[in-house]
Symmetry: C2
Subunit: 326 residues, 2 copies
């Protein structure tokens, strides 16, 4: 027990001092559901909360990875250390992952100041969002100055992950179709900055006008203290990155106003979401485990199949039995 | 009480006889969290399980809506009644929705044999998946022969919804980029049929070869009794729809083999997922309600903020307290 504790302490200290191998090992162990990994995460948690987390989200093909690559370059050239979490949507069934043009980022592989982690599957940790949050906590505890969280902003999970960043940029490209338009409307509301990448393409000014109009509509519905701005970039050519990062800086200043009131609110909201999500997943796993072992789950499913009850009534009854009256 | 019961009975009977207005009203009430709506759903449930559910999924812009439109046409011309559930990914924050080219489907608006429902937000019902399932149950109880479930196959939610169909078609187009490739690999595993839409475009045969190779790889990893086939369509020009629907028919025959063994397995799996999801959401809502009212949630969050505990330890302790030892 003392040996195990010493070992955990040792790993915690190595990660806190920024050791890459120890952090990579922990992330793998978290994915594999190694119980000790969770204990280490608990010890790291109080050391998190220092990094500035930037969410980068948008539809497939808008060039998020290239943009992320440029942001890493920019931050590194100013001496900041960077952590990257790239969230890949893949099968809940396979566990496999194909990483597309993320290979481009490999040029940072030999830079000790950059740590990149790709998340492909839900893993054992309880949801893609939970895995992403855990990785962010580790990178934060490692002492990274900035953490870039790149997600495909289409599914709910992905939007939620992006929304947990302190500064969220939503990336689009000129002239996408109606389907994309619908998505854009949805994720627009989590955007602190809007980026039109591949801005040399036809239709950039039209897209700019469209986004301006959408922002205007949004401003009429809500009154936020922060007004999102639109940035034009060509990430492949490294164009517009300075201006975009200046925008990130402005947002950081906004968050720091009045003794960091807005930042504290964002941090509290992150904690609330993280706790509630862990509670939800933890309760479910524990309860389903109990129901499976006792054979009760099978009996309930048989009752529904035989139409003696229905999923709604059966789940309500079980909730009342477990938690008592509302 | 008796009056209310009579009213519920009346609505149930109207929906069972296929009345469109009663069904539309119920779906709206479900979204709005009207308690009676859930009671009606419970009564409808035993009458579901007759429709053949077809999932249609794929990235934005592949023409899913147009394809869905053609499938409706095809099924209607053969005298079948059709329900459609279109799942739109939009903001968890706004509650708003922009429906893109779905307007095309409005030509079926005057056809009593077609019922189309667009789902944009999570609503009050507990998750997009739960809302979609509820709508499917209503359409099924109404007596629709086929239910088409159209989702953007990128997020986990959307893939899960598509996977609950009996026959799932994954739609792609020639020559999509790396990002799409990654997604395709993920959702390939839920595909019973693969569709290359806009097949007149450059690169169709290359995409065909790519998909064939991916199917081949998949067949080596798993041994499924059903081997997915690839169909080439041009939905806008109504090309390839006959062949695709013949493929759906083959899959239906496959499911019906050996006294419907595979269909029963799919139905059981649907019920299991539906029950577990309702249980998870119901438990969470109930528990968070209790914790909020007692002020305990705030105290826990304060403790985490002050770093007296962390979200992992705090959630684990609460799970143990509520459910007892694992």
């Amino acid at each position: 027990m003392i040996d195990l504790d010493n070992e955990v302490n040792d790993i915690v200290n190595r990660i806190l001092s920024g050791e890459v191998l120890a952090a990579a090992r922990l992330m793998r162990d978290l994915d594999d559901g190694v119980p000790r990994a969770r204990e280490i995460l608990k010890r790291l948690y109080p050391h998190s909360g220092r990094a500035h987390i930037i969410g980068i989200t948008g539809s497939p093909g808008v060039g998020k990875s290239t943009l992320t690559d440029r942001l890493i370059q920019h931050l590194r050239s100013r001496g900041f250390t960077v952590g990257v979490v790239a969230v890949d949507p893949t099968s809940p069934f396979s566990g496999g992952a194909i990483l597309g043009d993320r290979i481009r980022m490999q040029r940072h592989a030999l830079d000790e100041g950059v740590f990149i982690r790709s998340l492909a599957t839900r893993g054992h940790f309880g949801g893609l969002t939970a895995s992403a949050r855990a990785v962010i906590t580790v990178l934060d505890a490692m002492g990274k100055d900035y953490i870039l969280v790149e997600t495909v902003g289409v599914g709910q999970d992905e939007v939620e992950i992006a929304a947990t960043a302190y500064t969220t940029m939503v990336v689009t490209v000129p002239g996408m179709g109606d389907d994309i338009q619908a998505i854009k409307a949805g994720i627009l509301e989590v955007a602190d900055l809007l980026v039109i990448n591949k801005a040399d393409r036809d239709g950039a000014s039209r897209t700019y006008q469209d986004l301006l109009m959408m922002l205007d509509l949004q401003a009429r519905r809500h009154t936020h203290a922060w007004k999102p701005k639109i940035y034009l970039t060509q990430a492949l050519e490294n164009q517009g990155i300075e201006e975009l990062m200046a925008g990130v800086g402005e947002h950081q200043e906004f968050l720091a106003q009045e003794d960091g009131k807005a930042l504290l609110a964002a941090w509290s909201s992150r904690i609330r979401q993280e706790f509630l999500e862990l509670l939800k997943e933890g309760m479910h796993r524990h309860l389903v485990g109990q129901l499976s072992r006792s054979g009760r789950l099978d009996r309930i499913l048989q009752d529904i199949l035989a139409k003696r009850t229905d999923p709604y009534s059966a789940s309500e009854a079980l909730v009342m039995e477990t938690l008592g009256p509302f």
